[in-house]
């Protein structure tokens, strides 16, 4: 019996799925997806940490505006944030912003806002007595944050971070709206050209996303385990 699926469409277009039109054109495909995801993850770890700490700042002039911004961004669909960045960024900087930068900015800002809430929760999970104890030993507020609270809090946050980053990896696919040719867009290109192999192409695409996310979650589980010996509470 003949197979229902004809995966030759994948092998024929494999290189295009991996690197897009590179080197005759811009880098695309899986490589671009990974780059977008990697940079955005790194940026949003720091962004989220900073936003989270600012949100719980005792200075109301700092915390209130930041809380407002975080809540506004969290109330917007990511697709809109990307589109919005596409128009806002060039008018702020006055120059031409490449689409990849637009998507990285949008993803980082969007995810930072979510991460900030995780950070707040993580810090709240550490008993208040620890802050009080560390301050009474003579540490300043920021020192006790840096040496006592965050090292414990961050470890508790890892599972939620991973959750957020897994959805970030998948959200890179929304870059199509500004014409970024990451792997979903490349799959679309191939599907629109061949038209009769949609099932095969999108099964393969789902498989790729699964592999990326699975590797990522496995890594984080390993990280969690290797940090657990330090766990105090």
């Amino acid at each position: 019996m003949e197979s229902i699926f004809d995966f030759s469409v994948i092998s024929d277009n494999f290189l295009q799925l991996l690197i897009g039109r590179y080197p005759h054109g811009p880098l695309g495909g899986l490589a671009l997806t990974l780059i977008l995801a990697f940079i955005s993850v790194i940026l949003s770890i720091f962004g989220g940490l900073i936003l989270g700490l600012l949100c719980i700042s005792r200075n109301k002039f700092i915390s209130l505006p930041i809380i407002a911004i975080v809540n506004i961004v969290r109330a917007m669909p990511l697709l809109m944030v990307i589109f919005w960045m596409f128009f806002i960024l060039p008018s702020i900087t006055g120059g031409k912003i490449p689409e990849n930068t637009t998507v990285i900015c949008a993803l980082s800002i969007f995810t930072s806002c979510y991460i900030s809430q995780i950070v707040i929760a993580g810090i709240a999970s550490i008993p208040r007595g620890q802050t009080e104890a560390s301050i009474s030993t003579g540490l300043t507020y920021w020192q006790s944050m840096r040496y006592i609270i965050l090292p414990q809090g961050l470890r508790n946050m890892i599972p939620s971070f991973v959750n957020q980053f897994v959805s970030l990896i998948k959200d890179t696919s929304l870059g199509y709206i500004v014409g970024v040719s990451e792997i979903t867009q490349v799959a679309m290109q191939i599907n629109n050209r061949t038209q009769i192999h949609s099932a095969e192409i999108f099964i393969f695409l789902a498989f790729i996303y699964f592999i990326i996310c699975f590797i990522f979650t496995s890594l984080s589980r390993w990280l969690e385990k290797s940090l657990s010996w330090k766990k105090v509470i």
């Binding site: 039109r21 590179y22 005759h24 054109g25 008018s91 599907n191 629109n192 038209q195």
Partner: protein, 270 residues
């Protein structure tokens, strides 16, 4: 109070900064000096603009026109993938110099950007059983299949008030419904219909209608600030028509041997 004033000053200086930054634009001499022209094209629309399987380069009807305009200017063509949502802002913000991306010429868009003469005319037609339909009247009380939310749906409803329009998710589904005789005909842009028909196993039983219910002319988009470039684009298009290049390009992508065989019944005219 002090804080408010500082905020106001910052806001004011940002605004003045913004209003001064958008001045330069690339006119024809600048494009020539730069040695390259940036053209916005589609990258996933066969056969207008798509990535070739073997070479992984952009190809298609639109890209051939872009190259011809580049040749006329004597500059390199840089292709940039655009989407329907971002193409006009990209042109107005001068991120691209030209748009050749299956863009229909409409009065609303013409307020924002300049259009060249039409270089392609897309017609909305029907797929029907061979020999069953002579004119639009034959379809008026029948069931017609199309896709949800498309302009084809609106056009069909306007032209065939008594017909029952049934909308499917995509065209292959609509075509399947037609083969199962759930609908009498299906309608959308002729290039899509020709593509469906040429890949179908039962293509001998069906045909494209000879009449159409709407015409959508595709034009090259040029920035309003750059009338000189528009003139060169139009000149190139007319020359291509005169020396047969335009016809050749059409045959290359829509000829009888292509995947979407169409008949060229238009000419590029002012």
């Amino acid at each position: 109070m002090k804080l408010n004033r500082r905020f106001f000053l910052v806001a004011l200086s940002t605004l003045t900064f913004l209003s001064f930054t958008k001045q330069s634009y690339a006119d024809v001499t600048e494009i020539k000096k730069k040695g390259s022209i940036i053209v916005g094209v589609k990258d996933s629309l066969y056969p207008f603009g798509f990535v070739d399987e073997k070479t992984r380069r952009l190809q298609g009807y639109d890209i051939d026109f872009a190259n011809e305009i580049g040749k006329k200017l004597g500059v390199k063509v840089e292709l940039k993938a655009v989407t329907s949502a971002n193409r006009i802002p990209l042109l107005s913000e001068e991120n691209v110099d030209l748009l050749i991306c299956t863009m229909t010429i409409t009065p609303e868009r013409a307020k924002e950007i300049n259009f060249s003469y039409p270089y392609f005319i897309s017609k909305q037609k029907f797929i029907v059983k061979k020999g069953s339909v002579k004119s639009l009247k034959d379809l008026d009380d029948k069931k017609i299949g199309t896709t949800k939310g498309s302009t084809s749906e609106k056009n069909a409803a306007a032209k065939l008030p008594n017909a029952k329009i049934i909308s499917y998710d995509d065209y292959p589904q609509a075509y399947l419904a037609m083969q199962q005789e759930k609908v009498f005909a299906i309608t959308t842009d002729e290039s899509i219909l020709a593509g469906i028909l040429s890949r179908s196993i039962k293509k001998k039983d069906f045909e494209l209608s000879s009449f159409d219910i709407s015409k959508e002319p595709y034009g090259v988009g040029v920035n309003k600030k750059n009338p000189e470039l528009l003139k060169i684009v139009n000149q190139t298009l007319l020359e291509m028509e005169k020396n047969g290049k335009a016809n050749e390009t059409f045959t290359k992508w829509f000829g009888p041997k292509s995947q979407v065989p169409l008949v060229r019944d238009f000419k590029i005219v002012p």
